[in-house]
Amino acid sequence: MRDQPKISSKVLTKLSRGTKVLSKETKGLWEKVEVGENQGWLMRGQISDIPVGIKKSILSQKIRLQSSSGKRVRLRTFTAVVGVKGLVDKKGQKISPYKTDYLALEWLEKQPTDEENSVQFVTFSE
């Protein structure tokens, strides 16, 4: 949080991720905010109106749905089948002209990530 709406301005304090701030005023790219008894300026991209706490791993949830044969299937299984077989309409015609690769996507989704570590990683300066 800075004293003035300028990048060259003095840093008053560093706020940790998830800190609640009250927006008072907007000036260009900057928002004047109130934190407790302190006031200062943050760049607008640093503020979000969605609380940090609601983040969760949505993809791990199993979504139940009904297939045309009446059997209940898991969405990810369904999309995997679509990926392999190609989606067809009643006449057996392929309805998407584009190929998919869900195996590659799942490989990517399995790669480890660590947010705190990554934030540290981008603070490094040569």
């Binding site: 991720r17 979000s48 998407s96 790669q111």
Partner: protein, 272 residues
């Protein structure tokens, strides 16, 4: 109501009629924001799978991890907190970056080879991140309901659990994929993503000028066709640089210098 929608969805998806689809989607209300986000991810996953159907994934774990750490370092601070972001590399000489809704971001090996430092990589990832943050694809497909809540139309379509609803979703995925590969987003959205990328670079201490340098370095490749998709789907480089330069002087950002981390970038990318 739901049954009625699904039946209708089936009859028109066979004809692939986007306009009718949008009208239909626009009349649907879905007020649960969290559910909207889940559906946005499901939708984006389908688009990401198509991107990976076109370009093979690059599996050098050290390089993927490096790109992912830079991307995650930025998205953890400046991305939508309710999303988990994935950063992948596409194994192609084509020069481009892609973002699918819900948090899937890709950069090509062709683009990585052209980059000179970490700030340029951060800039390209930030540009893609901005498309997801601003929900550009979803908005361009005109899928919000009249109450403007998040991705409501998509939520309702995926909410329909029948095969016909899945076919409707598949059609939407195709529209989004075509937008990425052929039609492009609007010029306004691209300018917005460029400006947001600069803001993100400044917020995370990276050199903003490096991003403009990267855009300039694309120019000769547009003529050679290595950035064919990019030139088809984005405003010209001169336009993009002009808009960014105006943005920089308007907000007095020209004196800002930041880190480039050229050595670290080269250390990871040397064998590419």
């Amino acid at each position: 109501m739901l049954l009625g929608f699904c039946t209708a969805a089936f009859s028109f998806t066979l004809q692939i009629h986007a306009h009718e689809f949008r009208l239909r989607a626009n009349h649907i209300f879905w007020k649960n924001q969290e559910a909207g986000t889940e559906k946005e991810i499901d939708f984006g996953r389908g688009v990401a799978a198509k991107i990976l159907g076109k370009y093979p994934i690059f599996k050098d774990e050290e390089k993927v991890n490096y790109v992912s750490q830079i991307g995650t370092g930025i998205s953890a601070q400046l991305g939508r907190p309710e999303l988990r972001y994935y950063f992948g590399i596409l194994d192609t000489e084509d020069i481009n970056g892609y973002a699918a809704p819900g948090g899937y971001i890709f950069v090509t090996t062709g683009a990585l080879k052209l980059m000179r430092n970490e700030a340029q990589l951060a800039g390209v990832l930030a540009h893609e991140l901005a498309h997801i943050n601003q929900k550009h694809i979803v908005k361009q497909l005109n899928l919000q309901s009249t109450d403007r809540s998040m991705t409501s139309g998509i939520a309702q379509i995926l909410g329909g659990a029948t095969l016909s609803a899945k076919i409707a979703l598949e059609r939407l995925n195709d529209l989004a994929f075509k937008m990425l590969m052929e039609e492009g987003l609007s010029k306004k959205d691209e300018a917005d993503a460029d400006q947001k990328a600069l803001e993100m670079l400044i917020s995370t201490g990276y050199d903003p000028q490096s991003y403009l340098d990267y855009l300039s370095s694309l120019k000769p490749h547009l003529e050679q066709g290595q950035a064919k998709v990019l030139s088809k789907t984005h405003p010209t480089i001169d336009t993009r640089i002009k808009i960014l330069s105006e943005f920089i002087s308007k907000h007095e950002l020209d004196s800002i210098q930041g880190k480039k981390n050229e050595k670290r970038f080269k250390q990871f990318m040397v064998s590419l």
